[in-house]
């Protein structure tokens, strides 16, 4: 259902293509609802600009600022000419009460973020670096659509640095662990993707490491 947001016109901001809306690491106290144009979320990891997501009109971004004034965890860049509504904690309540549809959208976004963060947390609590890396692949496979669930092999469009980022280890360590997996023939690394030969083998491996850790 189309939302009538005309009452929020005074919160509207516009950006030209390639404009930075906010930058990773800068303190944030505003969040945005896209009205037109697309916004790209990027992160610079080891001198490479990584695409995290591309957001469409109707989507919300920067929402962590509602909760705490922490540094932004990624940058938001306008892909097209973008018109967005900019809100902060002060006018947040007005927005939510005036347009419950947006409040509901935000509620759903929060449920997803909580789940993602919890899953990430589980990776980070593992002590063993190999288990961390294996668990990153498990996490990625959980949200991946698979045509044939009986197939053990999984392909991921990620690079070594992405794995390092998720596992909370340095890119060098990430590469070392992955090379070890390659030598065991559990993983194959290609320029544009990483293939895990048997995802269930990784699942068993992580499970046993986790159990071992709890009994220690």
């Amino acid at each position: 259902m189309p939302l009538d947001l005309s009452m929020f016109e005074r919160f509207a901001v516009t950006y030209q293509p390639e404009d930075i809306i906010f930058c990773e690491h800068e303190p944030g106290d505003t969040f945005y609802l896209i009205q037109s144009g697309r916004v790209q979320i990027v992160k610079i990891i080891d001198e490479i600009e990584k695409n995290i997501d591309i957001l469409q009109p109707g989507e919300i971004f920067g929402e962590m600022a509602i909760l705490e004034e922490a540094p932004r965890s990624a940058s938001a860049v306008a892909l097209d000419q973008v018109k967005a509504l900019e809100f902060n904690r002060e006018n947040f309540e007005i927005l939510m009460k005036g347009t419950p549809q947006i409040a509901l959208k935000l509620l759903k976004l929060f449920t997803k973020r909580i789940y993602d963060q919890k899953r990430r947390f589980l990776i980070l609590t593992l002590n063993d670096e190999q288990a961390k890396v294996a668990d990153v692949f498990l996490m990625l496979s959980e949200t991946q659509h698979v045509d044939n669930p009986d197939e053990d092999e999984r392909e991921f469009k990620v690079a070594v640095d992405d794995i390092a980022h998720w596992a909370g280890i340095s890119p060098e360590r990430s590469r070392a662990v992955l090379n070890h997996f390659v030598s065991q023939r559990r993983v194959e690394i290609f320029p544009d993707r990483i293939v895990v030969k048997n995802i269930n083998d990784f699942a068993r491996f992580v499970k046993s490491k986790r159990r071992q850790q709890l009994s220690d």
């Binding site: 449920t111 609590t125 340095s170």
Partner: protein
Amino acid sequence: MPKAINYKANSIVYFRGDTSENVYILKSGKVSLNYNDIETGQEMHDLIQTGEFFGVKSALGKYPREETAVVLTNATMIAFSVPEFEQIALQNTRIIMKMLKVFSNQLRRIHKQVRNLLMTGANTNDPESGLFKIGQYYLKSRKFKQAVYALRRYLTYYPSGKYASEASSLLEAAENGTTGNMRNISHAAPVQTGTQLTEVAKAYYNAVSLFSQEQYGEALKEFQKIIKDSQGGEYEAKAQYESGRCFFNLNKFDQCIKHYTMMIQKYPKHPDLVDALFYVGNSYERLNNKDKATGFYKKILSMAREDMPVYRKSKKALKKLGE
């Protein structure tokens, strides 16, 4: 249509790992949500209050149930499909607002837990260097417009930061780069003035930056000035907390205790209250007042949740004191 369902004691509403379809509201009886704490692995039991919703997060987020819902005594609940739930929520904003509050607290908590774990890892990156490096990166990859933005932001937040002079010269280079081929940059920037920080916020981030460079005396001066100038308001409270940390790091333990005692009286619900108490306890410990220190650490244990870093720190400190 939402329907009322009766459950016998010891039956299960859903198991962990089940596909989530319904949202429930408890009408009568007792239901417990059983799950393992993600940090300790400990088995947890949360009792649902009558009139409370449960199963909301996994149903709305479309992921498997994270807990098992066990019926303890004969109970009645109403099951809503997700569209049914959305419909009543849209008609009753209070439900959404309340849940937003609960979920945002959970999100903030898990976010903090993740950050704490990442901090201990190798890739610690303080926001000040982070922001500067982004400016550097964009300049190097000849994305001048973005470089100008990041470097200007850096200089706004950290006017006397450790990279300030370097940032100024890089900014000049970036601006020269843009004027060469894209004249419209200087017009594009003012569009974002809506997000400009207030003076007090700038002063605050500057002081935080001094603190991170271990210039505690300078930082303290700045924080004290913010307290004097801003009177009440968010930044005063923050500056109060940071001032205490400055006293502590300057080894002025008496003043640290005095300062936090005053702050706690003024802001009994300060968000950093428990951390402040830890500094007080630690100050007493440094002053060799073992009893007082023990008292404060014990108080923290009774106030903090077990998953908070300050809880573990206090526990460790008590152990050291032979408690």
